[in-house]
Structure formats: C-alpha cells, structure tokens
Symmetry: C2
Subunit: 307 residues, 2 copies
DNA sequence: TTCCGATATTAATTTTTCTGATAGAGGGTC
DNA sequence: GACCCTCTATCAGAAAAATTAATATCGGAA
C-alpha cells in the first residue's frame, strides 16, 4: 500500500539527487529510503529513478510523479496549517538571513513582530546563501532570504525586494555622500570582496569587468562585520547592498554613494520548500520583513533627494 | 505522524457518518478506525468529529479538513492514474447501470468499447439507483449512472444525458406511434409504476398530480423486464425514459409516445467517488456510453419527425 | 431504568518499518 | 586494468505500528 513516508522519501531523493542525502534529510537510513522507493516503484509498476552509481536520475515517469507528489505534500501541509494551532499565530518560526539583512532591518522587524505575536518562538540563523539554501531544502528553516538566483529543485522563490548597490568607503574618502557615482571615475579600486562561493562576488566582478572598471587590488574577506570595520578605518572600499547601510545614512562613519552609470540593482528572494506552506506566523514575519525593508529604502531615497 | 490510512479513515467516517460503517467500507474494524481518528485528532490538536451516541457529526474543523483530505486523496489517485498502467488502457472497469441503460444502450456501447480496449476487464452491475449509489460510495464501482439528484457527501456528479419520458403501451393501444401526447387526454390511467424507493416513482406521481392527470389504478412493479412484458400484453401503460425504448421504435410491440404539454425530461448523471479519479479506461467507457445514448436519441428524434 | 446501538479502550498478535552490516555496482584515478 | 571511493541493494533481526477481538463505556429512546 501507498504511504506518505514513501512519497516523502521519493520527493527527498528526487530533490537531493541521492538516496544517501535523502536519508540524512529525512532522518532515516539509506537502507530505509531504498526500501521505500522500491516499494513505491513496485506498487506503481513503473521505474521512477535510474541509479547510475554516481547518484540517481529521474525517469520521465519520475519527473511527472514528483510534480504530483510535491503538490500532494503541499496540500497536506496546507490542510494542517488551516486547522491546527496555525490560526492561533503561535508555534515556532525559523528563518535564515544573510548578514545583509541582519545588520539593519532585522532588529526593527523583530520589534514589530514580537509586539504582534508575543507567543511565537523565533529562531534566526545568520549565514550565507549557500548554507541557507541547504537548510531550507532540508526543512530546517521555514524560509530564508537570499540573493535572487536561478532556482533549485524543490524550492519556491518569491521576490522580496530589489535594492540598489552602494559604494561604501570611510568618511570623507568619497565625498558627495549619498549622491550617485560612476565607478569608473574612482578606479583603479582597492576593493574588499567576498569569496567566490558568495553570489555577490560574481555580481561585482561582472559589473566591473563589463563596465571597464579597473581593480587595483582585491581583498577577500568573508566576514561582513570585518569588512565594514576594515573599510571604515582604511582607504579600501566595498560594494554593498543599500539595505544594510540604512543606519549609516548620517555619514558619521561612512561615505555611501549609489553606483551609477549604470545603477546596479540586486534582487533578494524569499525561498521556501515547495512541499510546504508557510505557517501564518512565518508568513506574517516575511511580510513584516518586506515592509520594514521597503521603508528603509524609502527613507534612504528621501535622504538621497536631499543630498 | 500523519498517514494516509488515517486520512482515508477520516474521509470514510465523514462520508458514512459512522465509525462502524466506515470500518466496513474500508475493510477494517471499528476499533482500528477509532484509533486512527483519535491519532489524527491528537496530532492535529483539534477535535474533528463529535460523537453523539447516535453516530458522528463533524465539527467546523472537521468540515474544513474533510475538504482538504478529499482533495488530497483525489490528487493522489490522479498521480497514480497518470503513471501506472493507466496509460496502457488496461485494468478493470466496474460500472453500475440502471435497467434504463442496460436494456438498449449497454450492448452497443460494449461492442464499441471491447473493440477499442480488448484487454480491459468489464464488470457491469445492474441495480436501482439507491444500491448503485451505495456501491459507488463504497468504492466498489468506478462509476454509476443514476437519475439526477441532489448529490451526496463524497460523490461527484456529472450530467450524462437528458432524455424525454415516454408513455408506453401495447401495440395499437395509443395509436399515433411516436407522436407527442398529452397525458390528460388519456386519463384515467391504469399505470404500472415502480415502488416508492425508486426515484422515478416520485417523478411520475408529481407530474401527474401537478398536471391534473387522473390515475384509475396503480400497479407497483419493481421489475423492469416484467413491466415491459406486462404492458405489452395488457391494457396497462407505463411511463419510461425514451432511451430504453430505442429498439422498439418500429412499433412492432409497443405504442410509444413522448409526453407533451408539458414534455417531461429526466436527467441521468454519472456519479463517482470524489476522492478518486476515473481511470482512463473508465472515462473512455463513460464517454462511449454518452455517445451511444446521444446517438439513440438522435435516431429517435429523426423517427419522430417522420411520424 | 433499562435496553440498544454506537464509540472507546485494552492487551495480545500480526504486520510493517527500520536498522546495521554487508554485498555489489559504477566511475574515476593511477 | 587494478584499485579505490562512493553510492545503492539486500538481508535478517529489532523495533515500532497497526490490527484484532473482547470488553467497557456512553448517550439516547422507550
């Protein structure tokens, strides 16, 4: 007979591309997963996955069945969310944020959220997008906010916010605080960048290369706090999303100038497991996060107009 | 943990309005069903059903959850139908028909169907609508065709055909074979009717009462073959759906005249369990049944125009 | 009250699932 | 090609869960 465990196992294997990884994600053994898939295939009378020594590849049947299974799990999740403690706006909300978001917008969002939903247990994980993506896929986070990307199996993405990238340097080094700047006018740059595993690195390199911005020296720093601190006390610069600099608009510590000619925008998306539905509390937090972020951007735009 | 058995049990209890009946339908014991429901309620943290000594009544939560559960089971069924042997147009098709349909349209439909799908195992059950409805709800039939009615929990209905009712008598007793007739012109009637448990009985009585048709004598006969035979060899008449008389349009045995002023139409609907999806073979049979029936009606209309 | 028809509970049993160990298969590397 | 590494399949015993039959309990009707 068909069972939900079998379906969950299949979805996990499909998304992870491996029995072993699926077992880990489902908190089971590889042996158990193997048996579930076998029973599923037997009872359907169809091969769902081709095992090729390196992992697994779904068959055409597998692809189609996966789509249905995800829809079923999602619907199941929805049914429970509708009934259970869901409506009470309680439970636990586990989210993942990049430093971009924890630096400035997390605190005010938390303030507002806690006021409205005092009984909800919040758990915020700070990490870079790769880690967060994995955690979301494993179901260990309800959702995460990561740079916009080309999607991944089993994840749904929703655009949360689009924000402008800023050139950040220590006070009085750039001048014209908050007015647009063309990077080419500033080169050659001594720039602090994240490591190649970070999505931002590629964005920055691509931008510089395709607009003829010369880079004199690169410093690879995978610590956001450290980057800011270093930039504040040196002649090095960094390119950062505006949303993390809202608390420094006064110009007391940094010169901040939006990239121009052309402007560079970054998308941040909310990712969640397709097979699940956001709990009301999580959805509320997500919408508050978006609102707060939008407000900070609005504030910044007002300041920029003044400048 | 949630399981499909629990969900199936809940759906069965909801639809049957009773643990005991649900157990029977699911081929389980009352004890097992009781435990499944208890676990479901515990894990949702919500009461789904109120037990009141006489049976069970769903709570508001139960109602909502039921809707989701049916959708999930249906989707699951769909997923399997899409993948499995479904596409091969094999397997078994179990349908239920009333005598109305078995008398004239079943045979030609079967001919066509068997030609196209020779490997499908057909199982046709002939019975009256109440029995067929129960069998469909229990999942012992893929679908049945019954008189149009006001629906039942757990059943989906689709209009299959609308047909005209006929006054049937033995040859040369009515005259004007195949031309419309006003019943009032023929009263008082000596009429053969089915028992009160049959949907048609109410239809006929209502029609006569509301159009001032006097009935001289009633003969209650719950045997369709017997009714036809008796009518053919006596002065009694019967009111029957046109679709069952297509083989007697030649007037050799019966005088058949459509009711007029006003015309009386009957709807026949296809009923199937909402939680399931018709297999391709069953769907094909249903559509062939509709086609055949429509053709017989078209033929009759042509004959009527000639007459 | 008493009975009747229904659900709840319980403990033993059966079935299913899960695990840990091991075998086997398929690529990559030297 | 031999070796190694990683991955999946299989198996038997262990653990967990479902199922059953018997029985307790409950609620309403007469």
């Amino acid at each position: 007979m068909r069972s939900l465990k079998q379906i969950r196992s299949f979805v996990a294997v499909f998304e992870e591309g491996s029995f072993t990884a699926a077992a880990q994600r489902e908190g089971a053994t590889q042996s158990g997963i193997s048996q579930h898939i076998r029973h599923l295939e037997e009872s359907l009378g169809v091969e769902l996955l081709v095992r090729d020594g390196r992992g697994v590849i779904p068959t055409a049947h597998g692809e189609r069945y996966y789509g249905e299974c995800v829809a079923i799990l999602r619907r199941l999740d929805l049914a429970e969310a509708e009934i259970g403690r869901a409506s009470a706006l309680g439970g636990e909300v586990r989210i993942g944020l990049m430093p971009t978001f924890t630096r400035a917008v997390l605190a005010p969002t938390l303030d507002r959220f806690i006021a409205v939903a005092p009984t909800v247990e919040m758990r915020v994980t700070e990490a870079y997008s790769g880690v967060l993506t994995d955690l979301v896929r494993k179901g260990e986070l309800d959702f995460a906010v990561v740079p916009g990307f080309q999607g991944a199996v089993g994840l749904s993405t929703t655009l949360l916010i689009r924000d402008r990238e800023m050139l950040v340097a220590s006070k009085n080094r750039l001048g014209q605080h908050l007015t647009p700047i063309s990077l080419k006018d500033m080169d050659p740059l001594k720039i602090v960048v994240p490591g190649p595993q970070n999505t931002r690195r590629r964005t920055i390199e691509t931008y510089c290369a395709s607009h003829g911005v010369a880079i004199e020296r690169r410093l690879q720093l995978d610590a956001m706090m450290g980057t800011l601190d270093f930039v504040a006390s040196s002649e090095w610069v960094a390119i950062l999303p505006g949303v993390m600099m809202v608390n420094d608009l006064d110009g007391a510590r940094f010169d901040i100038r939006p990239l121009d000619q052309p402007a560079l925008y970054s998308d941040f998306v909310l990712i969640e497991p397709t097979r699940r539905v956001l709990s009301p509390a999580a959805a509320l937090f997500a919408s508050m996060l978006r609102e707060t972020t939008e407000q900070t951007i609005t504030i910044r735009q007002a300041r920029m107009r003044e400048a």
